[in-house]
């Protein structure tokens, strides 16, 4: 029990997890939250290797998958949030070879913010910086108590750090801006919770910028100006501030300009960083891998002859499925039939569909070819990128007959 493993339940990638095993199964998990334990104990319903619903062996399934992709004019490769970096790189190579549309969940998630961070448009820091230095932590449109249960206890609010020795009561201030009183808002307390109407984020940000410039902040929804001025004062006095941006904020903004304005102003008067609250454990890894390769973080289509990537909203998974521009799909480590609106994702059931995943899900039930892979971080190792961009080495805990995701993609690529 002395070895520590990495939890792949969310993009925090907690690396202090101890595991007890029995009969090649995970018996007890120490220190992980409920979300992480569910992930590490494995699937309740394992995916089987099938072609057209009939059980088969892995080699035939891989050959069939290769045939589908070879015969497709415009295949789509989507997923990657729950895949190792090695598998993601293979996927990029595969997409290049067959001229596929390539996208991941960030195209309807944290994509814009991660893009801005990778292009150095937003100042960011690591989670360890937050633990050691942060004194003002703002959760905007995020509820880590539910999405990343150990965020507050491991990094942002409760732990003692090098420059924050006295703990949360004296050394840290947590602020929550949200449309509802979430469980994180309850922890922040009524005085530090700013409830805004749905869609009011951009206006609230601009009001905050006015307050930081010592002007009277005004909002159309009549938010108490005194409270905004009070908040601006807290932010001004911060020695090391951080804004944890959740999906609530990103879905509410039409573009990121209000966020840029706020971050610029905050960095004029004090020192503020931004942390994207990435959900799936290696979504940021995919964005970084693709960015290194092509200069774009998602929504690309490769030219099969030149290998050059084109980028645009029309290559996003949502638009490609809505406009029915793709004619085959490979889904890896994701469940778009559950996460996308049915009006969009229904088209996936009409085209030849291949899924690679450890567990059965709604998408795999509609797939022509299903290939089970090893569960990342439990049955296979590799690397993954945490929400703050730090690369973390995953360790294998259990043996399995299933191939790792990267290996399956390599074999498909060879067979094409």
């Amino acid at each position: 029990m002395s070895e520590y493993y990495v939890c792949t339940g969310c993009a925090l990638l907690c690396d202090d997890i101890e595991v007890e095993t029995e009969n090649s199964k995970v018996k007890t998990v120490h220190a992980a939250c409920r979300k992480g334990v569910a992930r590490m104990k494995g699937c309740s319903d394992h995916l089987e290797c099938t072609i057209d619903g009939e059980k088969t062996d892995v080699d035939s399934a891989i050959a069939k998958a290769a045939e589908i992709l070879r015969n497709a004019d415009k295949p789509l490769i989507f997923g990657h949030g729950n895949s190792s970096s090695q598998a993601q790189k293979m996927s990029i190579g595969l997409a290049k070879k067959i001229g596929a549309y390539l996208d991941d969940t960030s195209s309807f998630c944290q994509g814009p913010v991660i893009e801005a961070i990778l292009q150095d448009k937003l100042k960011t820091c690591t989670l360890d910086d937050i633990r050691h230095k942060a004194d003002v932590i703002m959760f905007w449109g995020a509820d880590p108590s539910n999405s990343h249960p150990r965020h507050l206890s491991r990094y942002s609010y409760f732990p003692r750090g090098k420059e924050r020795q006295r703990g949360w009561e004296e050394d840290r201030t947590a602020i929550c801006v949200d449309v509802r009183k979430s469980e994180t808002a309850v922890i922040c307390g009524d005085n530090r919770f700013y409830q805004i109407p749905v869609g009011g984020d951009a206006e609230f940000m601009d009001a905050l910028v006015s307050a930081l410039s010592s002007k009277v902040p005004k909002t159309s929804f009549g938010f108490d100006a005194k409270r905004i001025l009070e908040l601006a004062n807290v932010l001004k006095k911060a020695k090391f501030g951080v804004i944890c941006v959740g999906l609530g904020l990103i879905y509410s903004l039409e573009d990121l300009n209000p966020l840029f304005r706020l971050m610029d102003k905050l960095n004029e008067v004090s020192d503020f960083n931004l942390m994207p609250m990435v959900g799936q454990y290696n979504m940021r890894g995919f964005n970084q891998n693709l960015y290194e390769e092509t200069g774009y973080i998602n929504r690309v289509k490769f030219n099969s002859e030149t290998g050059v990537a084109e980028h645009g909203p029309e290559f996003s998974v949502v638009e490609a499925l809505r406009n029915k521009t793709v004619d085959a799909a490979l889904i890896i480590g994701s469940d778009p039939l559950s996460s996308l609106p049915l009006s969009v994702s229904r088209y996936l059931a009409e085209i030849p569909l291949i899924t690679i995943d450890p567990c059965r899900n709604l998408t795999s039930s509609k797939a022509k070819v299903t290939i089970p892979c090893a569960l990342g971080g439990v049955e296979s190792g590799g690397t993954a990128v945490r929400m703050d961009g730090v690369e973390v080495e995953l360790k294998k805990i259990l043996e399995t007959e299933n191939l790792p995701d990267a290996e399956i993609l390599r074999k498909i690529m060879e067979a094409i």
Binding site: A31, R34, G36, V37, S153, R154, P159, G167, E183, I187
Partner: protein, 153 residues
């Protein structure tokens, strides 16, 4: 969490002393502290007119089984294993400053809280600051729990 007045309202309020206590209020206080059980009140159990009160009280008191010696209860169905209490507990911080106190998994056996299988488990509860000679009304674990899964009775 139930308070003593809520419990008292559901009792017969006759001060019959059949339970051995001098008043129904005294019984309510002991019931809240789990020193007695609902079944220790004979009229409540036997008299049909107090049936509704008996059922309500049984429901109110029943979920807090598995109470530790010091009255600390973790509602496992509510706990999400976030570990806020593990990191916030002053005893954990004092006994394990570089482990639990710094947000990581506890490295000492002397901690009060530890997360196991996604649910917090209380141990070494005698170390808790709410008990012993120099006790104080510490609420670090209760205040920091997002789901209100910890309570003291």
């Amino acid at each position: 969490m139930a308070n003593v007045m809520e419990i008292y309202q559901l009792l017969p309020k006759t001060n019959c002393k059949e339970c051995g206590k001098s008043t129904c209020m005294a019984f309510a206080v002991d019931l809240l502290a789990r020193k007695v059980s609902v079944d220790d009140c004979p009229p409540l159990v036997n008299d049909a007119k107090y049936k509704a009160g008996y059922e309500k009280l049984s429901e109110m008191i029943a979920p807090v089984s598995g109470v530790t010696d010091t009255g600390l209860i973790v509602h496992e169905d509510k706990c999400i294993g976030c570990g806020n209490c593990v990191v916030a507990c002053p005893v954990n911080v004092a006994n394990d400053p570089l482990g639990a106190g710094s947000g990581k998994a506890p490295t000492s056996e002397k901690v009060i809280f530890k997360v196991e299988d996604g649910v917090v488990k209380a141990r070494n509860v005698k170390e808790c600051r709410r008990f012993g000679e120099n006790r104080i009304l510490c609420v670090a674990c209760i205040d920091t729990c997002p789901t209100k899964a910890i309570e003291f009775v």
